[in-house]
């Protein structure tokens, strides 16, 4: 697949390019926002990794332009030095599908790129059983098995866990989660979602030791991250 790397820092471009190519995809880099927008109008790409401070056009402006001008635009991962909650939520709310705060580990970046490409490729089949690392999900009796022990959960908890596993390494907004699990647009008490996530985290013992962690994107949503232990 074709991945656009839009950044003006050569080191970063090289770093990302090596990851993308390692994943078996094609990397196309742009160091200028205007050139990127021209290319996006002519060509088809599967993913755009967009730097916030790209010369020519501001990252957020580019995002908004894509939302407005390209009906079938590819998913966008924002790359930024900024880690403030507001900046991240601004980016996600402006239409970015995910974000990466620089500097980030190679494995994390790879996982996030993969998740984004997988989603775009329409991944996420509904088999009766699925295996995610150490976790075995049985969608029929809605149980999860870890280390050979079966963990019993409520329907909502299982659905939530299933949603996270299916969308591992993808940032899910709170609204998305609530619409998907509770099938409602109504603003649920924030504590309800927090409590459910807390319970899922505790019951499934979702922690790096077990290969996963739940990461809160403050002001936006959650992400189940796969932990890849290098060396």
């Amino acid at each position: 697949m074709r991945v656009v790397i839009a950044d003006d820092e050569a080191d970063v471009v090289a770093f990302l390019k090596s990851i993308v190519e390692e994943l078996g995809h094609i990397a196309v880099s742009f160091a200028d926002g205007n050139k990127l927008s021209q290319a996006l109008m002519r060509e088809t790409f599967d993913l755009v990794i967009l730097d916030w401070n790209i010369p020519g056009k501001d990252g957020i402006d580019l995002l908004k332009w894509m939302q407005a001008s390209l009906p079938e635009h590819p998913p966008v991962i924002m790359m930024t030095n900024r880690s403030a909650k507001k900046d991240i939520s601004d980016a996600l709310n402006a239409g970015a599908d995910d974000y990466i705060t620089k500097p980030e580990d190679r494995s994390v970046v790879a996982a996030r790129i993969n998740a984004m490409l997988r989603r775009n490729a329409g991944a996420g089949a509904f088999d009766a059983e699925a295996v995610y690392g150490k976790y075995h999900l049985n969608r029929l009796d809605q149980t999860v098995t870890l280390h050979g022990e079966t963990i019993t959960m409520t329907a909502k908890e299982f659905e939530l866990a299933d949603l996270f596993f299916r969308n591992a390494d993808r940032t899910l907004s709170r609204n998305y989660i609530m619409e998907t699990i509770w099938r409602t647009n109504a603003v649920l008490a924030t504590r309800t979602l927090d409590m459910h996530i807390s319970r899922v985290r505790a019951k499934l013992d979702l922690q790096p030791e077990n290969g996963f962690r739940i990461f809160t994107v403050f002001g936006y949503g959650y992400r189940l991250e796969t932990i890849t232990t290098s060396n």
Binding site: K85, D194, M195, R201, I214, T216, F218, T229
Partner: protein
Amino acid sequence: MNLRRRLAAEWLAIGLFATCLLVASLFWRGTAAFDHLLYDQLSAAQRPPADNDILIVAIDDTSLTALGKWPWDREIHARLLSKLQQKKPRAIAFDILLSEPGAPDSDQRLAAALSAGPAPVYIPLHFNTPGSNGRDYDTILPVPAFTQAAAGVGHVNIQFDDDGIVRRTTLCFTPDKGGKTWPHLITGLFQGKDPSFPKAGCAEPLLIPYTARGSFSEISYADILNSEVPDELVRGKNIIIGATAAGMGDNFPTPNGEGGMLAGVEVMANVLAASRRNDFIRPLPDPWTYALTLAPMWLLMFGFLRFRPRVVLMISLLSLAGILLLSIALLFGRLWFPPGTALLGILLVYPLWGWRRLQAMSVFMDSELRGLEQSGEVRPLPIPTNQTTDLVGRQSEALASAIDHMRDLRRFVSDTLADLPDPMFVTDPEDRVTLTNKLLNESLDKDISGWRLTDALDLMVIPDQRPMVDLYIAQSHAKGQEYVRFASPAEKTFVMRRSEVRSDSGILHGHIHYLTDITALAKAERDREEVLQLLSHDMRAPQSSIIALLDGPVDADARKRIERNARRTIQLAQDFVDIARMGETEFAGEDVLLADLVREASDSLWPLARERGISFAIRDTSDSAFVLAEPESLHRAICNLVDNAIKFSPADAAIGIDIGRHDETHIIVTISDSGDGIDADLLPNLFTRFASTGNHSGRVKGVGLGLAFVHAVITRHNGTVWASNGDNGGARFSFTLPIA
């Protein structure tokens, strides 16, 4: 000119002027008319009773008609005397001049009658003035035959007062200095031949207490001659023979004359009566008169200085009455004090002082008002427009409006002071606080009015810096130091400026102390210092390490260390920005499940822990407690604590993370490691910013802004954070947060 000095000068001038005037008045009898009038009125009110032992034999009109034209032959007088002698009177004063010799046999017969007895007969001598040969008087004695025949010779001088009225007499008279002293004709009649004559002081003038007019028994000369008078009328009486007929020229105006004249003999009868009663009225001696005249005046003058005008008026009126009463009282004591001049003194100085004082006040008010106008006040003085009153009235109005104006001004000033944007206070020359403003009171939480400066400073300045502040206060003007900067016990920083307040005339009124709260400025300064410290040391150090590492072979270990140093720099920058941002923004909390936040923090540090085989032992008894938090910063704060714990834990150790209930309202998180613990002397300052940048070794080195950030975040969340060493010797960091 100074009002007080001007008034003093006016006072003295009035006093001296009045004194001179009164002395002159006494000397030249300026108030004689009044005094005489008063004397006459007073004496009329206390006339002595008639003396029935005195009998006047009057050469009246009846006698002139009967005996023919005056002068009569002296043989007639001889006949009269012998007729009288037959009736046995006590003594006889023959008040008819006998200085020229008459018909020889008549003179002889008279001389015989004079000496015949039994009653002694006294005859008058008289004086011509001016005398011959430059003498004041020529003494004209009776004819020697008569002088020898008579029992005695005496003068019959009549003394006229300024107004021509006869009020006084002298009982003896010395025509020439050192010459013979003559008794009054009456003296002999009264006391016979007195061997002790002349008595000392007999020459002093005596005021005659007149009896009512016509109160003496009087018999016509002719009636005696015609033997128409019973002997009893004459027996034992003091006889005065003299002229009463209008044409005889021997009549004088007297106080009891009631506008008419009193015959010389009647005056003489009064003198005799007074002598017999011994109730002559003596004029007060001059020294006393002067003293009694000037004393009330000066008393009043001192009263002016001492008392309020209303009291002074009372004193004046009382003085007037007092003087009159004194005069009357003295008169009862047979002493005459003419009160006119003394009364004049009171009547003079009272209005004089009133006038001069008003004048001085007027001039003073005028100059003061002018001065006030010219002193460039904040607002011009209102000029009174009312022209209906007099000058002083207008000045008073001007003054009243000036006072109003000053009151407004004072109000204006005190309001201004009260609302000054900086605290201030004023001290008097004795360094006592006289004025404070609202801000000072608020910032000290106390009103220090009336305090001594040194006590006030005790309250404001931390003890360490007192000497410096004292030095500034003592020397500020000498050294030209403009201000002093100090810290207060309330952990604020102030700049104090002290400036003198002097009056127009240069008198030191005190000092104004302006305080400026530069706490924020001082903090900014400190922050800047810290930034410089950060940039110059903390940021550089890891970079230097990287450069040093690149110098050698870049193997796997070196790469790892380079990465760590680079991350440390980023972390430092991040912490710095976060702390700075935290100071600028309002707290905007949201519901956060604290236990999950702690888990995520430990999750995020798992790779780091794993590298060293370190594990987390998380015990959650918080029962899903929520806190109101800024999740991002709180997350990072917890990360810092966990990161710290990892850093100082030995390899393969376990880090305890406990989330539980601290009390009903607080949740507590404790992160404990099994490292070497924290030096006891570092514990108190562990959370201050850049505590690690000192020359500390071991534990704290390399922590950077981490703990300061933790402290800032927890404090921002209304929580408390502290550090201690656990039972196993490792460090324990705990913080509490209120449960939402």
